[in-house]
């Protein structure tokens, strides 16, 4: 199987629950959970007294994580949005798949928008740039054909999956550190971890779909995927900072 699929295995030791293959997952996304809330209400809800306030490094990490995730989901949404009309014009049978993937991405974006607001994280300053670049990427790969579009999905989702796994790993390390010290782990962090897991699984599901739809047959596959993956890594690096 494609090396990218091993991403799921790589993170397995950290899971609390076993991860099953994409087929077992329902095809609909649950609506973004519980992200709304005014500041006052949320403060009042703070019940656990034994929790440990986040350190500066942890807050920096979480800010960068939410910011880059929002930017990533924005890009994913726009990529699918740009690909869809071009693709289904030539391959009408892809309509349900594209709609399904787009809907999931849109839900992810909504989730992160809410989290960004709730935790008062600054969105990326390059929002307009990412919008233009993502639309351009989606459109141009779609024009290159079905295989290229799927290879684009493969490359993007591979990077994103690994990226989410890294975040989950760091968060779990934080949690186990707190637990070792006898601190309560706040609900918001637990929710964040489960949200990231769910989204990561859905992204990897998109990766499976892309592979099932001949992503590997794109010409030249290695060039296309490597360029896109390098671009993703660059964008992640920048978005974490700006």
């Amino acid at each position: 199987m494609a090396p990218s699929r091993r991403l799921v295995c790589a993170a397995r030791p950290f899971y609390a629950r076993p991860v099953c293959s994409s087929t077992a997952r329902p095809m609909t996304t649950s609506s973004p959970a519980s992200a709304h809330g005014t500041s006052e209400a949320a403060v009042d809800a703070g019940t656990s007294k034994k929790c440990k306030p986040l350190t500066k490094e942890q807050r920096e990490f979480l800010s960068a994580a939410l910011r880059v995730n929002q930017a990533g989901e924005l890009a994913a949404t726009l990529i699918y949005q740009a690909q869809t009309p071009v693709l289904i014009r030539r391959h009408p049978h892809l309509r349900p798949l594209m709609k399904h993937m787009y809907d999931q991405e849109a839900a992810h974006l909504d989730t992160f928008n809410n989290l960004i607001h709730k935790h008062r994280v600054r969105p990326t300053a390059l929002y307009p740039l990412w919008s233009v670049l993502a639309t351009g990427l989606g459109w141009s790969t779609a024009v290159m054909g079905r295989e290229a579009a799927m290879a684009c999905t493969e490359a993007v989702e591979t990077e994103i999956g690994g990226h989410y796994n890294g975040q989950i790993r760091t968060l779990l390390e934080m949690v186990s550190e707190w637990e070792a010290q006898g601190h309560d782990v706040t609900l918001e962090i637990r929710d964040l971890i489960s949200t990231l897991r769910r989204i990561r699984d859905e992204e990897l599901e998109h990766l499976d779909h892309a592979l099932d739809h001949d992503a590997k047959k794109a010409e030249p596959h290695w060039l296309l995927t490597n360029v896109i993956r390098a671009g993703c890594r660059g964008a992640i690096w920048v978005s974490e900072r700006v």
Binding site: P53, V86, N113, E188
Partner: protein, 267 residues
């Protein structure tokens, strides 16, 4: 944005020594705009216990003595410290101004709760406060401006100190944090580029109105209130124009692409 008054222009000698203001100091002392945990908010206050005791006591002398060494000295004495004690603060007079900025910003949260709860209670029909974002932004900005009321006769001087090159980064940072706080408390939920636009325009509106207020002799700052309303209207209009322009561009592009598609272009 504090104006660059002539008093704020320092001698080259002072710049050389004091330009060395390090970002880290002030920014992290007050906690930068990082991930905010609602369930487990950070316990640390921006000021240490001793620092807070001296500054809080000195702050009570500001209406009479300004943001000055003298106010700090009197405050230190009130709090039971020595005459030399305030020198533990870096940038003495600025630290007092900074204290004012931080404490007034932090008190906005409780003010907003009062403001909007009351508004909800009386209003339904009559008050737009509860419904419109712009109304809430305006109300909070006004509340923050009124917090300068007692020290307004010292405020031009304070602005000059804030505009000093070694204090400017901290002052601008504090302005940005104020704009962020007001936007958040007003319930702004934008998470795209307009996040920046709203905060930037609010910063401009706030700082110009603040400057206007230092020269306002009218009763209850009525002139300032009108000035603020005009600026808010302008921002709204400009924002509206920018928004419509963006919409129009997007629509035109989509339409053009669709026309080409309908002609059979493979795009």
């Amino acid at each position: 944005m504090p104006p660059l008054c002539s008093r704020g222009i320092p001698s080259p000698r002072r710049v050389l020594v004091a330009h060395t203001y390090q970002r880290a100091a002030r920014c992290s002392a007050a906690g930068r705009r990082f991930f905010h945990s609602n369930e487990c908010p950070p316990t640390e206050t921006p000021f240490g216990a001793v620092e807070d005791a001296i500054l809080a006591a000195a702050y009570r002398h500001v209406p009479e003595h300004g943001f000055s060494q003298r106010a700090l000295g009197l405050g230190a004495r009130d709090a039971g410290f020595l005459d030399i004690s305030p020198s533990v603060l870096s940038y003495s007079p600025f630290s007092l101004i900074h204290y004012h900025l931080v404490t007034q910003r932090r008190s906005l949260a409780s003010q907003s709760r009062q403001l909007f709860d009351d508004a909800k209670l009386q209003s339904q029909a009559q008050s737009t406060l509860a419904v419109s974002l712009d109304g809430r932004l305006s109300a909070l900005t006004w509340a923050r401006l009124m917090a300068n009321k007692d020290t307004i006769h010292w405020w031009q001087e304070a602005l000059a100190v804030m505009a000093h090159p070694s204090h400017l980064p901290a002052s601008l940072n504090e302005l940005a944090r104020l704009a962020d706080e007001i936007c958040f408390l007003a319930g702004d939920k934008s998470t795209d580029a307009s996040w920046y636009r709203k905060r930037a325009s609010l910063s401009v509106v706030y700082s110009t109105t603040e400057l206007f207020m230092t020269n306002d002799k009218s009763r209850d700052f009525a002139e300032t209130r009108r000035f603020l309303d005009r600026r808010m209207d302008e921002v709204q209009t400009l924002g509206g124009i920018a928004g419509s322009l963006g919409q129009w561009t997007g629509f035109t592009i989509t339409a053009a692409v669709n026309v080409l598609r309908s002609k059979g272009a493979p795009i």
